[in-house]
């Protein structure tokens, strides 16, 4: 469990993660902001990444793109993902 508080927007993205990926046993506020989302960490995989990209396009109006290096950085943690969404969101 994280001792570090999430920002309001990070909490919003955490809720989207939990809802989209049906992570029933995880509370959004319990996701550690710097914890890796894939493999170890939350244990997300490529199917999740696709589902997440879809939810992000519906909620924030932009399409995720993978540019090799950048992709790993964007999905590195909840904090990195939230920052990426904040930077690219259209609505």
């Amino acid at each position: 469990m994280s001792l570090e508080a999430l920002s309001p927007f990070e909490l919003e993205v955490a809720r989207l993660l939990v809802e989209t990926l049906h992570l029933e046993d995880i509370k959004p506020e319990d996701i550690a902001p710097e914890e890796p989302l894939f493999n170890e960490g939350l244990g997300l995989d490529s199917i999740d990444a696709l589902e997440l990209a879809l939810a992000i396009s519906k909620n924030y109006g932009f399409q995720m793109r993978s540019d090799e290096q950048q992709n790993q950085r964007v999905f590195a943690s909840l904090r990195a993902l939230s920052a990426h969404i904040a930077e690219h969101r259209v609505h």
Binding site: H22, L23, E24, D25, F38, N39, E40, G43, L44, D45, S46, I47, A49, L50, E51, A53, L54, S57, Q63, M64, R65, S66, N71
Partner: protein, 438 residues
């Protein structure tokens, strides 16, 4: 079958073979790259081809053949699988994109027209791996003549020809990807896009990079993501999907969104592609020419011996069959194949696991199918278990949920039923809540 078969078909000499880093690569330039890479390859009998860039994989794949070496094609990037391959094939060396890049950078630019190499039909061109039931990957031997014959069957069925560009979301190391994005450009004159697009927007951009006619080679998981992404798609000649049957509803949606026919391939790693269909027209599968079915065994064409199919089928006539369902043990998720026996073996190998079992819940219309696992491991927490599993398995096989219990649900005869396991999984949320409060 002739003793030797050319690396490239002769009737496509003037058409490009790949779109790589914003350029079209001619077949002559490709041949120079492949011959140059062949000279740099490590002197080992087997080359573990880990290239992800599709053009670099293609050039390395060809180079390995030119040297009469053998490509090892791993079924996943899981650490344990790669370690076991290194153990099972001591005379092997791994190569990756960075090696090919370095070697190609050292190449002296020239325009020499090299002769097309011919490879012996019985040359062991590649070994493709599938997960076996005993915990070690099972090798599937692919001789050059068999791969060429498969490519010719696919060419005949789909009309692969010059002027078509393949954009593929599947890796070249898997048989489906190997046939559609590596053997097709070598033997039928199609051009490939070197990228492996992942997100729908990547797929759209890759399609837009190349002129029509375009073919999208993908899987049901990616197709669903693309259909739901609400993008404006470039013109596509047709789409191919494989690894799991498409539902008629998704196929219909995809045909509408892409304004193109959606074709499906049925196959397995042992035999390669064996049949195709367009589910909008028919739910039965039409065998490729030269194959025949006897019960659930496939033979004919290039197969050295009959291959048992992983599915339960119903035969209509000599060319047509219907899939009735997957044999219980086989798992196919997001194009990755495994078996419950293999997964169960792996979870039970973890230190601290007393007993563990995987189960595949039924598919629902709204969610992609995921595995679940029930495990007895009093001294390990969920994180430790997942970390240990992640070393052994491809991420798509990691269980969700992973449920820790005091003992597995066995009936009075000691058997564990699927129903009892599914009941545990449905009640998972409450179990984990108890754990959080501990």
């Amino acid at each position: 079958m002739p003793a030797k078969l050319p690396l490239l078909s002769s009737d496509a000499a003037d058409s490009p073979i790949a779109y790589w880093r914003d350029h079209m690569i001619s077949r002559a330039a490709f041949l120079r790259d492949a011959v140059h890479i062949a000279r740099q390859l490590p002197a080992a009998r087997f080359i573990l081809n880990l290239c992800e860039d599709r053009y670099q994989f293609l050039a390395a794949f060809a180079a390995v053949g030119i040297n009469y070496q053998t490509n090892l094609l791993p079924s996943s990037r899981a650490t344990l699988h790669l370690r076991q391959l290194a153990e099972d094939y001591p005379d092997s060396q791994a190569i990756a994109d960075s090696d090919i890049e370095r070697w190609l950078a050292s190449k002296i630019v020239d325009n020499a027209a090299l002769p097309v190499p011919e490879l012996p039909a019985d040359h062991l061109m590649a070994i493709a791996f599938t997960s076996g039931s005993t915990g070690r990957a099972k090798p599937n031997l692919k001789r050059w003549g068999e791969l060429v014959s498969g490519a010719q069957q696919a060419r005949q069925r789909f009309g692969f020809n010059t002027g078509l560009t393949v954009v593929a979301t599947v890796p070249p190391q898997h048989m489906y990807g190997l046939e559609t994005s590596i053997m097709a450009p070598l033997l039928s004159g199609v051009c490939i896009h070197a990228n492996r697009p992942f997100f729908p927007e990547d797929v759209r951009a890759a399609l837009a990079d190349t002129p029509p006619l375009r073919i999208l080679v993908t899987t049901p998981v990616h197709l669903r993501a693309c259909v739901e992404a609400q993008l404006i798609w470039p013109e596509i000649a047709f789409l191919i999907s494989a690894t799991a049957p498409l539902s008629p509803a998704l196929a219909a949606q995809a045909e509408q969104v892409f304004n193109a026919p959606v074709l499906e391939i049925y196959g397995c790693t042992e035999a390669g592609s064996i049949a195709s269909r367009r589910v909008q027209e028919n739910d039965h599968w039409l065998l490729y020419d030269g194959f025949h079915l006897d019960g659930d065994h496939l033979s004919g064409a290039h197969l050295p011996e009959p291959v048992p199919l992983g599915d339960i089928i119903e035969i209509y006539d000599k060319d047509r069959f219907r899939l009735l369902g997957r044999r219980e043990d086989l798992i196919n998720l997001a194009g990755k194949r495994s078996s419950l026996a293999y997964l169960n073996h792996q979870i039970n190998q973890i230190e601290g696991v007393i007993e563990g079992v995987f189960v595949l819940p039924d598919e629902t219309a709204t969610r992609t199918q995921r595995l679940a696992a029930v495990v007895v491991a009093p001294d390990l927490d969920e994180r430790q278990l997942l970390t240990a599993l992640a070393e052994r398995l491809d991420p798509v096989f990691l269980p969700r949920p992973l449920i820790r219990v005091a003992q597995l649900p066995r009936n009075e005869t000691g058997k564990m039923t699927r129903e009892a396991l599914l009941a545990l999984i449905t009640g998972a949320s409450s179990c984990t809540k108890i754990r959080h409060d501990e």
